[in-house]
Symmetry: C2
Subunit: 229 residues, 2 copies
Amino acid sequence: MDSDDRKLLEATELFAALGEEAINRLTLNAVAQTVPKGTVLFLQGDRPEFVHLVLSGRVSLGAEDAHGHSTIVEIFREGQLFILAAAILRKPYLMTARALVDSRVMMIPTDRFNAMLDAEPRFSRALVDVLAEHWRLLVRQIKDLKLRSAGERLGAYLLMKIDARSGTAVLRLDEELNVIAARLGMTPESLSRAFGNLRAHGVRSQGRQVTIEDVAKLRAQVSFDDLDG
Amino acid sequence: MDSDDRKLLEATELFAALGEEAINRLTLNAVAQTVPKGTVLFLQGDRPEFVHLVLSGRVSLGAEDAHGHSTIVEIFREGQLFILAAAILRKPYLMTARALVDSRVMMIPTDRFNAMLDAEPRFSRALVDVLAEHWRLLVRQIKDLKLRSAGERLGAYLLMKIDARSGTAVLRLDEELNVIAARLGMTPESLSRAFGNLRAHGVRSQGRQVTIEDVAKLRAQVSFDDLDG
DNA sequence: CGGTTGTTTGAGGACGTTCAAGTACTGTGG
DNA sequence: CCACAGTACTTGAACGTCCTCAAACAACCG
């Protein structure tokens, strides 16, 4: 592992919780790999051999049905371990991982990862928090899909991306619109129309550049509840 | 805690992993409570004071939007700890818990639970597995919602409830149909129609009593993939 | 600069919801 | 055990949302 990767690694919250020596053991026979946009890291149904960690770039986890329709469940960015569950439980991946942009990914052999999990109390304790945080993300998404319309989901997504709770906000979406559409559970066409509808509520967009004129108003519009305090 | 509760508790996989002495400490000031069908155990947005465990009966976790539409994300049964994430992270509940039938629920104070988590390596290790298993359930549900039609979701739900992979299967659904509808993300009316449509694929139903004439055929119909081997 | 990929717009249609009515359960008290 | 009330479930008709298909347009990359 080179020193740049090492530095990126040490910046992750999980590894901060682990300490120098444990990190060394965990990554002893890990490898890092640079992959171009579009690369498939593993396929739904594969047996996990590695736990993956994004060193740079972004990776999507998604699925396809028999008819070629595909969706994205999550997007991981720098510093995040992904699809831990399959590796921990030694069960096949439920999703396919794809690099959304040119990315650098570290691969830690599952056996070593699981051995650490059994041997290092601090590691399993830290993972409990990571998994719990994750669980909440998925619950949020399910509530979104079941209770909100496409337009409301877009509104909530935009609000999630900004810090402000009122006033005017400007943001540049860092995913392509078709990726965002897949993540939000709609077609690119519907996403485009959803942006059109939000215009009536003070949201202007030109491509990925978005301006929210009145954040507070939009929050009320999509009944945005941030149960995160 | 009475001895019946104790027996139920010891039957759970998590507590089996913990051992006698640790269980005693964890449940020292836990209380068990018998609640009638419909009881709300906590509300979305509440601060968690207890970790809950179902001793008997069933509990749903769901949410409502501003317009009174409600949905169910998960259903927990005997032996299951539920909504750990909020307690672990000390964040507000994302969902409301409701007893689906007369139930008995154990409540473990969060402080004690979290103290155990920090002190007992075996406990956090066991919870990692519980949370990982859980994560996969939610991912499955998201894939369902995004990639499958209402009819396919019902078919997949029925197939999940049976062991057989081919031949004929008979099952009695133990939830009310309106509960199943909420869990599957559709209205009771749509569920009823979905059953109607499945009749063409060899599924007969009268109320909660269901007969699947050809399991293998239905599996093909809903492209059921059990990535659990 | 041309080709490829990404985004928008329009028309038509499918799926699921809503609202409303009717039927079948389930449990309770007489 | 039956009658009745309340709840659960089904069915029908009309509507709305989102998807599909198709085409035009814009942005990006070699």
